[in-house]
């Protein structure tokens, strides 16, 4: 009877160890998948941000930089020195209320004109910088 009890305990231990191993492997696998998914989303954000920032810089190369920005991004708004352009989750231009991303374009006039475009991801009241592009153009 005692011998049988001991065999059952060993078997149970064996099963517990197997289940634990499987759980560890499963957790690692799921972690890989989640990381892959997050990296994919991050890449998508970065791709869009690069395109938006380079587009803004291209627009600001115009003689009337602010006017050109207003013409290209009609839903954008002026905020002091900056011009803000909002994009929704599907990366279409939208109004502030539906925004998931914001592109902040600034023009600093000095000896040279400095054009800066910063792309942020909005998360409630917080905003996280995804990409920033700065260039200068000469004043004639």
């Amino acid at each position: 009877m005692n011998k049988q009890k001991s065999r059952s305990s060993i078997m149970l231990m064996e099963i517990i160890v197997t289940v634990c191993l499987f759980m560890i492997c499963g957790a690692i696998c799921i972690q890989f998948f989640v990381n892959a998914y997050l990296a994919d989303k991050k890449t998508e954000d970065l791709n869009s941000a690069v395109l938006w920032a380079s587009s803004s810089i291209e627009i600001m190369k115009s003689e009337d930089a602010k006017g050109a920005l207003e013409k290209c991004y009609a839903l954008g708004e002026n905020a002091g020195k900056a011009y803000l352009v909002y994009f929704d989750e599907d990366r279409n231009e939208c109004k502030k209320a539906a925004a998931k991303y914001v592109v902040e374009d600034t023009i600093d006039e000095g000896k040279m004109i400095t054009l800066t475009s910063k792309v942020y991801k909005l998360d409630g009241k917080d905003k996280k910088l995804i990409y920033e592009l700065t260039t200068q153009k000469a004043v004639y």
């Binding site: 049988q4 059952s8 078997m11 099963i15 197997t18 289940v19 499987f22 499963g26 696998c29 799921i30 998948f33 892959a36 998914y37 994919d40 890449t43 998508e44 791709n47 395109l51 380079s54 587009s55 803004s56 291209e58 627009i59 190369k61 115009s62 050109a68 013409k71 290209c72 599907d90 990366r91 279409n92």
Partner: protein, 167 residues
């Protein structure tokens, strides 16, 4: 005694079988989930590649041909075409960028040779390709890749854009 022993063996067998079943179901779930994540990642990678290739190809072409009378906006049966004009050895050559058969195409010929849509060389697969002039110096390009991913970008052309109506 024998009955208890047999009952114990049956319970053990059912328990191991149930555990094996749970293992199989979980393994299947992990494989299906993994395949889905992998499929999505591949799809996104293809979409990003197509969009980025098309965007940067058009951008670089416009940058390379940004000379006086070098960039012209035209259309062929309603389809927008970017004409990039270059002079070499007293001859004029035209590079056409346009969409045909769901692909971004490029075709370079001497200016006096007739242009045919089908003669171009495929660059990358696309669903939509639209080009419009925002102002005399700014071009707006809208493209949609085969996976439905949309990209819009603006390009400043220093020397000006010929043809095409303003947006």
């Amino acid at each position: 005694m024998n009955f208890t022993k047999r009952r114990g063996a049956v319970v053990d067998f059912i328990f191991v079988l149930a555990l094996l079943g749970a293992f199989a179901v979980s393994a299947l779930f992990v494989v299906i989930f993994g395949a889905k994540v992998f499929g999505n990642t591949t799809k996104e990678m293809d979409s990003n590649f197509a969009r980025r290739t098309a965007c940067f190809y058009v951008e670089e072409k416009l940058r390379a041909f940004d000379t006086a009378d070098g960039v012209e906006l035209s259309d062929y049966d309603g389809a927008p075409i970017i004409k990039l004009i270059q002079k070499a050895n007293d001859s004029e050559y035209v590079t056409y960028l346009y969409m045909e058969e769901y692909s971004l195409m490029e075709y370079t010929v001497p200016a006096d040779i007739e242009f045919k849509l089908r003669d171009g060389r495929k660059i990358v697969g696309l669903e939509e390709f639209e080009v419009s002039k925002v102002s005399d110096n700014i071009l707006h390009v809208h493209l949609v890749d085969e996976e439905g991913g949309v990209s819009d970008f603006y390009k400043y052309v220093q020397c000006g854009i010929e043809g095409g109506a303003d947006e």
